[in-house]
Subunit: 302 residues, 2 copies
């Protein structure tokens, strides 16, 4: 087992300028694991309703996702509803129903405890901690969070941050955690809280990585066929962690390539509704897109 991820498996209701979908498979663990599985074996710890469709589970399994720790509980699967404006970078969350996720108690199976890489999706930091404690000695622990926990459980979040290697959040979340508007200053404060690396997702503007020594800026690939940005951030994290799981170390060059691989997978993720097309990605497509990112940014040194 290369990577273990905890997060949500959900049904989304999404409206974008290019159409709408109901009851489409979603959730952070779904997008993350499908993205990561392009690179390395990945298992998910999540919870769904008792009669969650077998076809969705089979889709994950057929794409290399180990779903043996997917719990089934009485109630309804987590549901998220959102809408994107004509400027597709602007999103409104219309509803979040935790449902079976409300009293989720994640249990890590014996076979998953020795996973090399652990990704803690943006759930309650106390649950993130509970998962981390069940692990043996993961080589890399990355974690996401969200405004709900930054505001609601600041102490638990701070404890989590002291235990992880990489924090992956968007720019607003980084500013909120650090209580600092300037991103460079915010990064310094966050790194002082524990993580060795901070990855800041900035949507169409790409991503930034801070490690206290250097900064890396990855571009967003300008695209004309953006259909649904839902799951882009989790796909980014999945591509990023997936590549790291295959790499021998986490030196600067490796980390930078991981950021680009994350950006590559995210760029595919937003081209259609739902996560289904992530399963079809070939290595050739991924490599070609990686080179597109390279030619998009390269310029000669002096």
């Amino acid at each position: 087992m290369g990577i273990l991820a905890i997060g949500s498996v959900a049904f989304d209701k999404v409206k974008t300028p290019f159409g709408s979908r109901e009851e489409v498979l979603g959730g952070s663990a779904t997008y993350f694991s499908l993205a990561a599985s392009r690179f390395a074996p990945v298992g998910i710890v999540a919870v769904v309703e008792e009669d969650f469709p077998e076809s969705e589970v089979a889709f994950l399994q057929n794409n290399g996702v180990d779903t043996s720790a997917l719990q089934r509980k009485k109630g309804k699967t987590f549901r998220w509803e959102g809408e994107y404006e004509t400027n597709i970078n602007v999103r409104r969350t219309l509803a979040t129903h935790l449902n079976v996720f409300a009293d989720f108690s994640p249990e890590v199976q014996e076979k998953h405890r020795s996973a090399e890489c652990l990704f803690l999706g943006n759930i309650d930091p106390d649950l993130q901690m509970a998962v981390l404690k069940q692990m043996k000695r993961p080589r890399i622990v990355a974690c996401d969070t969200m405004n709900y926990w930054i505001e609601g459980k600041p102490k638990s979040l701070r404890r989590m941050l002291s235990l992880i290697d990489i924090l992956i959040v968007n720019d607003e979340e980084a500013r909120q955690i650090a209580e600092e508007i300037n991103l460079v200053k915010a990064a310094r404060k966050i790194l002082a809280m524990g993580p060795k690396n901070l990855v800041v997702k900035r949507g169409e503007s790409g991503a930034l990585m801070f490690n206290g020594v250097s900064m890396f800026s990855a571009p967003g690939l300008p695209m004309e066929n953006v259909v649904d940005p839902t799951g882009a951030g989790d796909s980014f994290a999945g591509g990023f962690m997936g590549y790291l799981a295959t790499a021998e170390n986490t030196d600067e060059a490796t980390m930078r390539r991981a950021i680009i691989y994350g950006s590559v997978i995210a760029s595919f993720s937003i081209c259609d509704f739902g996560p289904y097309h992530l399963g079809k990605l070939t290595n050739a497509e991924i490599s070609k897109r990686f080179e597109e990112f390279h030619s998009l940014t390269r310029f000669d040194s002096l």
Copy 2:
């Protein structure tokens, strides 16, 4: 004469989270020419009030700006007033007083007509055209514009676009000109209107360049000491055109380096109020910052 620029010389009243200034030297031609003069000789065509301070003119001259075509007219110098929010990327224009600029009739002196590079700041496209007509055969013609002219003089603007090599605008302006929200599609429409290159300024997110064949994404340098973003876009254009004026051709590699030089000068421009510190920039500082942009973005190809 390497570069001729037409635009405004103004007095700004600026408020940012870091302080406020009144009657500070500003205007597009001011920032542009100070930036460009770091690379090549530059002259400006602009208009100011009769008793415009000699010290400001001397400041421009001492920094290599040819001010012999700076007209003095009865009335007041162009004044702009703006305010930046706590998130310094958000700007509100509070007042624009054209004053002597209202009936400005730009005249290009004989000695300036053979300038190799022409930059048309964001004034009335009819005036931009009037300047272009007075020129001999500039090697590179670049042009900026703004929402006021995009809405108010669409036909004149379209005629201008058919005559220039490079359009330099921000992302909102690009979308507005093309009447297209998606930036890649907007770029294609704008290139079809005439320019061989479109440069899109995106503030802290950097810049994009489109030429119909390839795309280039330059990062914004994450900075912790942003004091006043006023003039950043014109400083960018000045560094960009300044470098192009020194280069032998406009091939892809040269254009990309020009974009980075523009970004370099813009990154210095925003560190203080007014344009005065642009005059103090050394070649060593510029080269060092160029390398910072390089190390910020580089990653290995596959």
